[in-house]
Symmetry: C2
Subunit: 439 residues, 2 copies
Amino acid sequence: MSYLNETHDPALQSWVASANVADNGFPIQNLPFGVFRRTGGDEAFRPGVAIGDQILDLAALAALQPWTDAAGEALQACASEKLNGLMALGQTHWSALRLALSRALRTGSTMQSALEPLLTPMSQAQMSVPAHIGDYTDFYISLNHATAVGKQFRPDNPLLPNYKWVPIGYHGRASSIGVSGQQFRRPVGQTRPPEDGAQPGFGPCQRLDYEFELGIFVGKGNQQGDRIPVDESESHVFGLCILNDWSARDLQAWEYQPLGPFLAKNFASTISPWIVTLDALAPFRAAFERAATDPQPLPYLQAKNADSAAFDIDLETLLATERSRAQGVEPAVIARSNFKDAAFWNVGQLIAHHTVNGCNLAAGDLMGTGTLSGREAGQEGSLLEACQGGKKPVALPWGEERTFLEDNDEVILRARCSKPGYPTISLGECRGMVLPAKG
Amino acid sequence: MSYLNETHDPALQSWVASANVADNGFPIQNLPFGVFRRTGGDEAFRPGVAIGDQILDLAALAALQPWTDAAGEALQACASEKLNGLMALGQTHWSALRLALSRALRTGSTMQSALEPLLTPMSQAQMSVPAHIGDYTDFYISLNHATAVGKQFRPDNPLLPNYKWVPIGYHGRASSIGVSGQQFRRPVGQTRPPEDGAQPGFGPCQRLDYEFELGIFVGKGNQQGDRIPVDESESHVFGLCILNDWSARDLQAWEYQPLGPFLAKNFASTISPWIVTLDALAPFRAAFERAATDPQPLPYLQAKNADSAAFDIDLETLLATERSRAQGVEPAVIARSNFKDAAFWNVGQLIAHHTVNGCNLAAGDLMGTGTLSGREAGQEGSLLEACQGGKKPVALPWGEERTFLEDNDEVILRARCSKPGYPTISLGECRGMVLPAKG
């Protein structure tokens, strides 16, 4: 079997035994980056890399100064509470560090005894948002989602004329982004009045929803005024995570014209703790295809790598409720889809578009893909789509049903890549829970 | 004449002589905060307070530890490259520092000889963005502007039904905010095709505009999930500056549906370097009035201080061009208006609205008011309004005319408060220049 470089050799095994368990998701071929500390401790958060069910402390490893050259420089940038320093170094450094970590963690490595004391079990770790997020942008790259939601907000005009030309995006709120496990109060706000001119409604959101997105962490940025060409744009991406863009549909419907969503989104957004690099995802690249009837993108959005610009990542949404937890029932799978089937624009195009006007990106910036929905029933990336705007409740196996989220509901988003002959690469899990509105 | 407290006594004079010159704008009654360093030096930026044509170095003053209690704590927070630490302390500390600075800088102060070496002439200083801006929000509070622009984007439906109920806002880009003197490349991007389905245009923006806004710097923030009640909200505001929200109208018209402006705005925004505190603006408070035919706001937006929730601030827009500079002609005034006449929502309402859903604000966050336009001709806050969407060019006294901005045009925004018997309080100047698009 051929592979891209030695870090992708499917036969590689780690001296961390749990990394070799089938489908554990964090094999030595993955090596995602996050920020953690021991639960209950008062030590500072620090960067780590996931290996099996363990986390290797990169700040502590940096103190040992095991490497020189690019890998060593990249490691020194991990002597920090966030990953921004590492992110800013760029692709060459990321790949060098990945290779050095792969060699250090593999079976037979002479570094095993030095590294064993630097492991923390994931079960004893608390995770944090892995980077200082300077700016957060949310895109809207799923044609299926745009069409389905468009139908509900604008029945006569679901897909606007710009959709197939412009990777539609808008700025979101960085301050309210939390890491998996985030709990937040149901937002309160204004809702559309029964008729124009009447007093709007006011109170806790009645149509609270999740949105399954992937998050794209920017690595190396660009100077203001410069653009990042589409053929270089992927090298500016540090990696991907899962993102839940919680949405208050009733607040959104009333506030969003003419300047876009605001309070309907900015109360909370949740990301998974591990950033899986594009290096780790390389074996799951796929052709990026548009329908023959769709227009070709403008030249600044045409990359040479279209035959491999998509990523084959399975997405799975689960829901747990107060009742399911009380009954000891497992969370229910309510949707399954795949990134490559859901995306009308690819990662490189988003970076090229974002900077075509000279807008400056910085290490640690986060971009959401927008809700990722497949074409078929059961592939929806939000309840709004699954319940057809509230008309068709989603049945849960323990006897409840949902149109929108109720208090104490927990949404669990999972993403992973798998194919025969290669270890499963997990993006981990993004959990978040709705608490009752503040009284 | 009565005054609010001793810092507002109009008879106060400073031992910095230039602060006592009539209409100099930075008298001892102003004391705005900024961040500066000596031009050409390689020292770090540090906080300073403007007094006359001088800047008092607050980081150096902090090293002298002249005060204890709240003023001393506030001063110690200025031993930093940005104002975020001071901002986070809250109103009590800001007022204490203002009082201590007022006493130290006034004629007869025993601190004069200690402070004189800590002055830098403004003419020898380079200014910087005064805070780390975590999140930037842009509002849309001018009914006149919303109506005038709405007419151009939606002739049949200029003012949407939510406008008089919801303080419309959206998130903007923090990374591209620069300080007065900013120069930026004309943005490039897509424009609406001649007909739906045809290929969009692509190239340098042809309808580049300025927007005269005020910027509101958040001081003390709130915890995620908590709201800031409208009657407390002004105490979370550190102060105001001038903001130019540069806008690419042709890019905006094509991209903004359904999620709002994006590349049309995020290439650059410019702020004035001095933040004038609400304390300094207190003598210029005015009644905040709505027309009798307008609805009363919902209870969460009804503040008890409506009789003083507006600020009487004169706004003036000037334009200089390559030709005017070559001819040695002064920049031309192209519009004049006033904050209190232009605003349909007040500062406190914006903070209360932004947090009603639990969204967390942080020290250093910036909010734009949105374009501030008066009702009459000559009071427009943008060229789009002044030239009626390109139909009626604005004549310049040196023989040129403008519909939108041309390369090397410089826009100069000024704001100040004046009334009989009180020294003029200036918000300073916000200058920015358009460079040609990158080839």
